[in-house]
């Protein structure tokens, strides 16, 4: 019986279009746009100037603060602008624009780590920081902070290969094609953090990835495979930890509060590469799919590549795109421009035709309670919506609206087509604003 958690929904996984498409290398674009915010935390500070020539792998923006991450040049060439540019999150963010000279001239400072077998936690964190590695599953939390804050608190390592969002197969392909690097990275983490056990968790719909990982860990001590029930949001941090080891991360807490370090498969690969070759994080595996895409595929793209280039490489649009998403259909962000770049957290870009859209004007709650059954955080969306719409923020807070992980299960399942999670995002923002105002007094 595959492992699971309470609640969740079962959307059609739509992974068949790209599941068997091996990762193709997308040629570097003529220009890359590198936002200084491709992570949670303080934006990195640019350390190059317009007109400067930079090499591939050179730091162009430096960590600024305790929670922050470096940005590296992903091509060699000339810095042509440092200015606000459209970012996938919908705002304009300070970005470093580099004109590619197509030489891919490698930065001299890049070299493998010597003492490969005796790396301790702090050294591993330093390597992650130097390589600009962040959580590549989409959350983009700086990995060095995660590692150093786990020292002494963690007894279990979970590698997240759940990939529960429909359409996306980038983690699946990486498990199939870079399995050895995953095992390598996990071993590094286990040694550095002195852990006996690590679980690699994969949803049951990825049979070939499960087989591959099973073969690779056959003779490894302490490495265990956990097959998870195919259910959204199985890959969400708190739900994954609950499924794998039955622990519930407390409200507002981090996985380390229950002794768990949880890292995405892509992040582990990046970590393994940073140690073995010294290469910082320059590329990202991106699934390009959706009903408007002519030839859906998986691409290895330089970070900073405009979405336009990826869609072109996937045969362009066979139908007029109505909506373009970065990320999956459950939590992805809709995009208004194809000029926004691939960032570190980009695991998929999707383009849909009009008929796929689920937006509805007529909304009537029939109190069916399906949202309550589907909420993986044990909330009561029906009441949060009712109170939120009337501006009763206190009631929403009492019903723990701040626990909402915005997975979208409630909106997905709602037969009355209510915009539930959308309204909770709003309520949370209003609550946060209110707290700030109170604090200022």
């Amino acid at each position: 019986m595959p492992l699971s958690f309470r609640g969740g929904v079962h959307p059609d996984d739509k992974k068949a279009d790209t599941r068997k498409k091996a990762i193709e290398v997308l040629p570097a674009p003529g220009q890359v746009v590198l936002p200084v915010s491709m992570h949670i935390g303080a934006p990195a500070a640019p350390v190059v100037s317009v007109g400067e020539h930079v090499k591939m792998g050179q730091v162009v923006a430096e960590t600024a603060g305790a929670v922050s991450a470096r940005v590296h040049a992903t091509v060699s060439g000339t810095v042509t602008a440092i200015e606000p540019r459209p970012h996938p999150n919908g705002t304009n963010v300070m970005s470093i624009v580099i004109e590619n000279d197509y030489n891919d001239e490698l930065f001299e400072g890049i070299k493998p780590v010597d003492r490969f077998h005796s790396i301790d936690a702090q050294e591993l964190a330093d390597i992650a920081e130097a390589a600009g590695i962040v959580g590549l599953g989409g959350a983009m939390f700086p990995t060095h902070v995660k590692i150093s804050s786990s020292v002494g608190k963690v007894d279990t390592l979970i590698i997240n290969g759940a990939e529960c969002e429909p359409y996306i197969t980038s983690d699946n392909r990486q498990m199939l094609e870079c399995g050895e690097e995953i095992i390598n990275g996990v071993t590094l983490l286990m040694k550095a953090l002195k852990l006996d056990t690590a679980y690699i968790a994969i949803e049951s719909n990825k049979r070939s990835a499960i087989e591959k990982i099973r073969r690779l860990i056959a003779k490894k001590d302490g490495l265990k495979l956990k097959v998870l029930r195919t259910k959204y949001p199985q890959g969400a941090e708190k739900q994954l930890i609950k499924s794998v080891c039955g622990r519930e991360v407390p409200p507002g807490g981090l996985p380390s509060a229950v002794g768990v370090l949880n890292i995405n498969v892509g992040t582990v690969i990046a970590l393994s590469r940073a140690v073995e070759t010294g290469m910082p994080l320059l590329t990202k595996v991106v699934t390009v799919s959706g009903s408007a895409v002519a030839n859906p595929k998986n691409l290895l793209a330089r970070i900073g590549t405009p979405l336009r280039e990826l869609f072109s490489a996937a045969g362009g649009f066979k139908d007029n795109p109505y909506k373009v998403l970065m990320g999956g259909p459950m939590m992805g962000i809709s995009q208004y421009s194809l000029d926004v770049p691939v960032i570190k957290g980009t695991n998929a870009i999707l383009a849909f035709c009009e008929k796929e859209d689920a937006y509805s004007e007529q909304q009537v709650c029939i109190r069916c309670g399906k949202c309550v059954g589907a909420c993986p955080m044990n909330l009561m969306p029906v009441y949060l919506h009712m109170y939120g719409n009337r501006g009763m923020l206190d009631e929403c807070e009492k019903l723990n609206v701040t626990d909402c992980i915005e997975c979208g299960c409630c909106s997905y399942i709602c037969p009355g087509r209510l915009h539930l999670v959308q309204s909770f995002k709003n309520t949370k923002q209003r609550l946060a604003a209110l707290k700030k105002k109170k604090g200022a007094r």
């Binding site: 229950v258 809709s334 208004y336 029939i366 997905y412 037969p415 009355g416 915009h419």
Partner: protein, 352 residues
Amino acid sequence: MLSEEKLIMTSSPHIKTEDDTRSIMLDVIIALTFPLIMAICFFGWRSLTLTLTAVASCIAFEWLYRYFMKKPSSIGDLSAVVTGMLIAFNLPVTTPMWIPVVGSFFAIVIVKQLYGGLGKNFMNPALGARAFLLSWPALISLWVKAKPLADSSFPLLKSISREALSPDVIAAATPLAKMKQGFLPSTPMPSVDGDIVSTLRDMAVGNIAGCIGEVSAIVLIAAGIYLIVRKVITPHIPLAYISTVAVLTYLFPRGGNDPLQWMLFSLTSGGLMLGAVFMATDYVTSPVSKTGRIIYGIGCGLLTVLIRYFGAYPEGVSFAILIMNVCVWAIEKISRPGRFGVKRFKKAGDTK
């Protein structure tokens, strides 16, 4: 072709399940046709005309109200059809045709639309209508037992009087009325006028006197299973309700009867199965969480037995559900799902 002129921006999620209010109501209507077919078998085609009259009036009142109140039409959600069917199912086949029309007006306009329409009413519209129609007790309590498939027995539309009943129809006391006096429906009561003996098999199949939609326990259970399989309802309310009635009637049989017999007759008599499957599970007027639904189901069962045992009226199902309807708000307050992440956990090697 890489144009982006008309990209639309919305908040996630961007996909939705195909099931909407209309498809759910359609499933309920499909489930309701199971007992409707049995009603036609046992009481003839007049059951169908009664049902159609109620459905047509519910749709008409819903449309008229929304039209005159300048609100968008809501008949497309099919909830009025469900209400209409349930109103008819709670009436005996001898009911005059104007009764379901008046009931539909009360259910749709007073109970549902005046409170804001679907999802806003605090009691089940069909049950509200049934309680209201008890203002004319004489008109909705001519119970009959017809010979199966005696489809020519009743006029399709004209009113029926006790005197004018055709010879193959018997005016009969319902099994519940006999149980009210402490007798099993299978016990002959020669002293009582119009007494009929109903075996447990009659009770289960529905070959008994009663409201047209409530008689066949087996078919109603099948309809309930259909709704559960289609994920329209969860099993919590019907199971809690029926089990509570089963336990109470087994523990406290009346008239010195065998507990098992008394329990089985209690479960198959009256509106219990119809109420447990279709009425108590009405989304709008029942709790949204699993715990809440169990509490609510137990409450319905408890009140049903109390009313059947101690009330003036033989049947307790509709009043029990109506009473629990108005308790839903309180039940919701005490039945919230436990917060995620407040349970304590054990670390590997933790000894505490």
